[in-house]
Symmetry: C2
Subunit: 318 residues, 2 copies
């Protein structure tokens, strides 16, 4: 019997990662190309498409392509487009789903990367069987995917689930979106770096943030060594994240909230203050019944699994 | 042909209003009993049930009862219960749907009053045909119902949609829920009274809030007379409400947001500052495409229509 595979494609600012995934979430082929090498999105589509076609030739008829799932920044599920993504060099509206669908002659679904990862968690990860959950990616920014009644919330326009841009503090930190005080300016790799820097400046006025603090992993390593400012940076981040998640519960009352991404790998340093603040700030009817859990997807494979699950999820529902 | 009617019952702290509603939203019978006269909820159920039975006798076989819909404070859709409602004298968990279902021998659906009103808006009001919208009641508190993909969001536990208890300001105003800074302490009849009182105290230190300000209508009348403090109270309320609604959009990206209740009847005094703040605080991708609208349900009939629509909506979906 010929087995079906789905192509999962994750478009990132630096790299485009893609692979072929079977129904159980096994990745049978995986490849990376640098997104920046393709100023014209059509060229990227052809390059990726060629790789996928060549794989199937090598499989010698054992597999067939059931469809393509794409996770992309500013991806619009309804239109299959990437729209004005600040982290990509492609400007305007890119009909990426259509381009892949025409080239590979199969069903193609596109959504933003955080939504794709959320569906990945539901299809292959810790949210299997859950009808209501929230998925948070703590990367350079804060992405989110909200699942209600077993379905991704896309909203009226396909752009639902931007919890990273909930304004936490009027006149707070400047956000890349042009507004101030957005959650992701505090709770993300970028956010905790700013917090750590602020703490260093206020506690040790003579010290300036050194150039080594170019990633959040540095702050984790410092915290592991007992550095008080690093531990406090995690506590401040968890305080704000816990409040934001408690507020989020008042919207969709989920069974669980999953944290994914570099910052979520800091274990207790981030989970402990987040859960403390979460429970403290929850309305009584919600207390002690909503789990805050680490994502069960591995950092390396989440993007491909998430993108492929866009298709697997719809096939499974039918 | 025998026509079907649904009983819509709204349990309030003071009164229980109920009626019989046809498929088009016509109320063919309506009655009110004082909730407080029934310390035992079973007695209220019997009283209301008797009224409903007697009506059908009078109809002389022209109608039959298709079901009962109930809107109630702290109503739980999944369990059909009222749970620990602070505004009712009934303590603990009341299985109200079961009591009505047994007495009247028909399907009974119960949810909280704001959810019921939201489904009323979708079935009989301005949200007809909308798949994604948010419904806000500005009464003593701030209630909300969220519709996603054409369905009410109940969440994992049946308690979703408590936007009134989103914490807007850490260490803000004391809320009846025991926490501080909840949206409803600012944006509700109670909230605007506190704001107006604060403004009077700060602008005219010699004046104390007089006892006449026992309802928000008084502030509306003052604003109509050009009273600057009253107008500023509306502006402050709209500022915060607009921000809260802009944040809400980041969750479910609705087509429209409906405002219902006494405060929503203040027209431009509340809508203008709310919409200004809303658009100012929206993420760019959402700007200029989400409508903030007054509810199309009349204040008098909304509760009964909303409660009855719980049944009509499920019947219509099938």
């Amino acid at each position: 019997m010929i087995q079906q595979l789905v192509a999962g494609i994750d478009i990132g600012g630096t790299n485009t990662v893609f692979g072929l995934v079977d129904f159980s979430g096994n990745i049978v082929f995986k490849e990376t190309v640098p997104t920046e090498h393709f100023p014209n999105p059509k060229d990227l589509v052809e390059e990726v498409g060629e790789h996928i076609k060549r794989s199937f030739l090598r499989f010698d008829g054992k597999y067939q392509l059931a469809g393509v799932g794409i996770g992309a920044p500013n991806g619009n599920y309804f239109k299959g487009t990437i729209e004005f993504a600040p982290n990509l060099k492609w400007k305007g509206v890119i009909p990426l789903a259509q381009l892949f669908s025409e080239l590979l002659n199969c069903k193609t679904i596109l959504t933003n990367d955080a939504n794709a990862a959320a569906i990945g968690e539901m299809t292959f990860g810790g949210a299997k069987g859950m009808q209501n959950f929230i998925f948070i990616t703590l990367g350079t920014g804060l992405g989110s995917g909200i699942v209600v009644n077993g379905k991704m919330v896309y909203g009226h326009d396909g752009f639902a689930g931007e919890i990273g841009h909930v304004i936490m503090f009027a006149d707070g930190r400047q956000c890349g979106c042009g507004r101030k005080g957005c959650l992701e300016t505090y709770c993300s790799a970028t956010g905790i770096k700013r917090t750590y820097s602020d703490l260093l400046m206020s506690h040790h006025r003579h010290r300036r943030m050194d150039r080594m603090v170019d990633n959040a992993k540095f702050i984790y390593d410092k915290a592991m060594q007992g550095d008080k400012d690093a531990i406090e940076a995690f506590n401040c981040t968890g305080d704000i994240l816990g409040l934001a998640l408690a507020n989020s519960v008042a919207y969709t009352s989920p069974e669980a909230i999953f944290l994914f991404g570099g910052l979520a790998q800091a274990g207790d340093f981030i989970f402990k203050p987040t859960i403390e603040s979460f429970e403290k700030n929850l309305l009584t009817i919600y207390k002690n019944k909503i789990k805050i859990l680490p994502s069960q997807l591995t950092e390396n494979n989440a993007a491909i699994l998430g993108a492929s699950s866009l298709l697997w999820n719809e096939i499974a529902v039918k």
